[in-house]
Subunit: 259 residues, 2 copies
């Protein structure tokens, strides 16, 4: 069977995440598998996603891989899927992938972005696409906290409880916090946090943002946050930020795996 | 009774516009009047909006005026309303207004913005906040068309049929089309059209965008469009763009009317 690779964008607001945690929920994976089964003549098609995004989390460049019981060209597959999929998920690119390509296992790095509006008013237009806290944040403290994440660390303090992964060590190659005025809201500021790593634990980016917010509002200092990170103390780590501010922007693969 | 002025932001996706065209529809005006009636102890409060935005049209800086059967400070009024209003409409500012202030009649100019994604794929994240056409547009032709609107003209060709206004002459002080790459969609472009005038006819901005699109895809040349505009020929004007790409950004008042 030919193996395919898709690049996907979706609006996470209407999905219970990429992958179902409970039966009967609408998921991106399930929606895609349904369309692929129809395309493949009724046979079930199992789809792997590069990042298992949570409820409400968006994607601009999610990558999925699967075997289809039918040979099609990439552009033909893209058109056929976009003709069947609902408007809140779109195929941006489709191509035949090399044998052995696996959207998650072959991935070399992922880039996530978190958008957080800060200040008293939550802009209606962004209530499903940006997180929100009512405080103004100390921007230097937020940047100092973002810098703590860079490098190879054990991120056990940021791992969701109950997840079973072999290792909680990840290498973060980029962790940047930028602030700008919030359009339409004089005096309010928007934080854009971008983080790139070789992999992420469940709720890891949202927990990172929780750390930034805790530092930015003065609930904890960057030095204390560093100690909690180094100690792997999950119970002392600030609560994760809400899902709707998060977007999986891009997944990168080693050159040989991309075509 | 004290007169008040509000600045409002709303996500138009869940509203049948500012003002109801048919009974039983959810409107921004109706939602606001309901909250104000509760605040005013049950007495009905009539609200005037600066721009009567259509179904799906958004606002970052709509202005509303009304008399309230109760004296309150601006910040207190803002907090009280935001505590009662649904999340898709927010009060950004509230203040006591001078006697005789009327959100629509006192307005000197309004700024609207239209965001239009162009190209084969419609980004899920923006399907309720940007218009979309599948074509790539000729950017020079679009800019040439935008320039036609500047100045004092009879915009009868762009007026919605069945509207009864005293005059269809308006003065456009700014009409600018900018293009940028669409984030997440390689090869696609996003048009941002901003237009400022002393007033707008119903569906006028969306008809302006219809004209830009017709020129940009080569269906009509800028010279022909100019002739149709000058002739006031409503039947020859291109169809208006969809509402969801439009935002009322700002309303300006003469200095004496602002506080």
């Amino acid at each position: 069977l030919p193996r395919y690779r898709l690049t996907l964008a979706y609006d996470g607001a209407g999905f219970a995440g990429w992958q179902s945690q409970a039966p009967g929920q609408r998921t991106v994976q399930g929606t895609l598998e349904e369309a692929l089964a129809r395309l493949g003549g009724g046979e079930p098609v199992g789809v792997f996603g590069a990042g298992r995004t949570d409820t409400g989390v968006h994607a601009l460049g999610q990558v999925a891989s699967f075997d289809l019981p039918r040979a099609m060209g990439g552009p033909e597959l893209q058109r056929a899927l976009n003709g069947m999929l609902p408007a809140d998920v779109r195929v941006l690119a489709a191509a035949v992938a090399p044998d052995g390509f696996h959207a998650r296992k072959s991935a070399r790095s992922k880039l996530y972005r978190y958008v957080l509006d800060t200040g008293p008013v939550r802009l209606p237009q962004r209530r499903a696409s940006a997180g929100h806290v009512a405080w103004r944040l100390d921007e230097e403290a937020v940047s100092a906290a973002a810098a703590l994440y860079v490098g190879r660390h054990d991120f056990a303090a940021l791992a969701s409880t109950g997840s079973s992964v072999k290792t909680t060590v990840r290498t973060v190659t980029r962790s940047e916090a930028r602030f700008a005025d919030t359009e339409g809201l004089p005096g309010q500021r928007t934080l854009v946090f971008e983080v790139e790593a070789d992999g992420f634990l469940r709720k890891m980016v949202r927990s990172m943002v929780g750390g930034l917010v805790a530092c930015g509002r003065g609930a904890v200092g960057p030095d204390t946050l560093r100690q909690v990170l180094r100690a792997g103390d999950r119970s002392a780590w600030p609560a994760p930020a809400e899902g709707c501010g998060l977007t999986l922007v891009r997944v990168d693969y080693p050159p040989g795996e991309t075509d």
